[in-house]
Amino acid sequence: MIEDIETQNIELQLLLQAIYLKYGYDFRNYAKASVKRRILHRLNKDSFANISAMQHKLLYDVNFFETLLLDLSINVTEMFRDPSFYLALRQKVIPVLKHFPFLKIWHAGCSTGEEVYSMAIVLKEEDLYERTQIYATDMNEVALKQAREGIFPINRLKQYTINYQKAGGKESFSDYYAAHYDHAVMDKSLKENILFSDHNLATDGVFGEMNLILCRNVLIYFNRELQNRAIRLFSESLCPTGFLCLGTKESIRLSEDSEHFEDVVKEERIYQKKH
């Protein structure tokens, strides 16, 4: 059994190398425990004898790779996740952004878009939407496609409404979507200034001159090295005094670029790039 673990670790390393060489997606610097879990999950589900057998399939079957890609990119998200974060954003960040004539916001790792629509609602209510360009990116095309559509399962809307209210929402949440029997279609006007596109934090480069970057609940899946890369990328993509927001359990303080950022709201992981 212990021997099996060692062998499995070798196989896992080879598999990630194979994915990178064949398809260009680089998972080699992800936190191993979670990647391993996802791979073993697929292994059991599809009854492969071992990871090597799975690697063989992966190299010759692009459809199987896409399944695995979905397994590996954990797309779980919600609207106004962590309402207290959005409240802090409204109170501490929005008032500063109001001084700018034109704004650029980047959501990195936006998944199926719930976070982006949440931001669009906040911007509308704060009269900032019309002068904002939002860039929403993810490495996962399937998630991006859903994000572009802006259609969400109706059974989640009750929770989102509660979140919206706790997040300092000013209107009636139901004004922002049209309910069809099992799904909710987000209002078209929320999408006008959002550009969804493919971007991989492990392999792609800088996005220019942002006033605000949100990258929430993505860095927890990276190892230290890749976290450093991503934060360097954010630092270089922000204009001076631009804001960076991470997930509730993520911190900039372990990264190499930590000293370039000040705390704005520490508990909510809202930081500001120094001049």
């Binding site: 059994m1 212990i2 673990i5 670790n9 936190a31 191993k32 425990a33 979670s34 391993k36 879990r37 996802r38 954990i74 779980v76 609940n217 927890i220 899946y221 230290r224 359990k249 993520e250 911190s251 372990l254």
Partner: protein, 196 residues
């Protein structure tokens, strides 16, 4: 011999954990890592309760934090807690496993990979089956499993499921788990350092 203790508990677990942890001394030689099922929005009150009642330092596990002995780590509510091979923590928002996030199975499986078999797993009271799979895996890697006697559990499903899943090493009433754990760990430590 052992490098870590992992504990899973659910309904009734706060009382049970308090019981077990308060039997351990300040200089307990291993890290203790716990998944207690909680409401997703309950912030850090469990840390406070347990911290007040036991001699060990109790804290919520941070992402990338290095695991140290003599500290009790709790999974943050609404995240899975995993252990890496370099004995640091990872968090994940992967969907619920056995309807639970954090899930005991997720912690136990990753602990087993990180510590190989050198692990003590404990299952306490709970009303679901989370942890049973993890217990089985830890057993097959040569780890040691203690389960709370279902008769003494506020909810017996979780300990019962663990007992069914594998032939566990010890089934004990709640009040004996802490003292037994201490004895077990001391014995194995002294075997490792015969001249200390």
């Amino acid at each position: 011999m052992f490098e870590a203790v992992v504990i899973g508990s659910s309904a009734g677990g706060i009382k049970a954990l308090t019981y077990v942890l308060s039997a351990l001394p300040h200089e307990f030689p291993l890290p203790i890592i716990i998944v207690q099922h909680l409401h997703p929005n309950s912030d850090s009150y469990l840390t406070k309760i347990l911290g007040a009642k036991c001699g060990l330092l109790v804290k919520q596990a941070d992402e990338k934090e290095t695991i140290e002995r003599g500290i009790v780590y709790l999974a943050p509510p609404n995240y899975h807690l995993l252990i890496e091979e370099d004995h640091t923590f990872s968090l994940s928002l992967e969907g619920p496993v056995n309807f639970a996030r954090p899930s005991v199975d997720v912690l136990f499986e990753s602990a087993l990979f990180a510590y190989r078999g050198k692990l003590i797993g404990i299952i306490l009271t709970g009303a679901n089956h989370d942890g049973a799979q993890g217990v089985k895996q830890i057993k097959s890697a040569g780890g040691y499993i203690i389960v709370q006697d279902p008769a003494t559990a506020e909810a017996e499903a979780m300990p019962r499921a663990a007992i069914v899943a594998a032939s566990v090493d010890k089934i004990l009433p709640l009040d004996q788990i802490g003292p037994y754990l201490l004895q077990l760990v001391n014995r194995s430590q002294s075997r490792r350092h015969p001249f200390e």
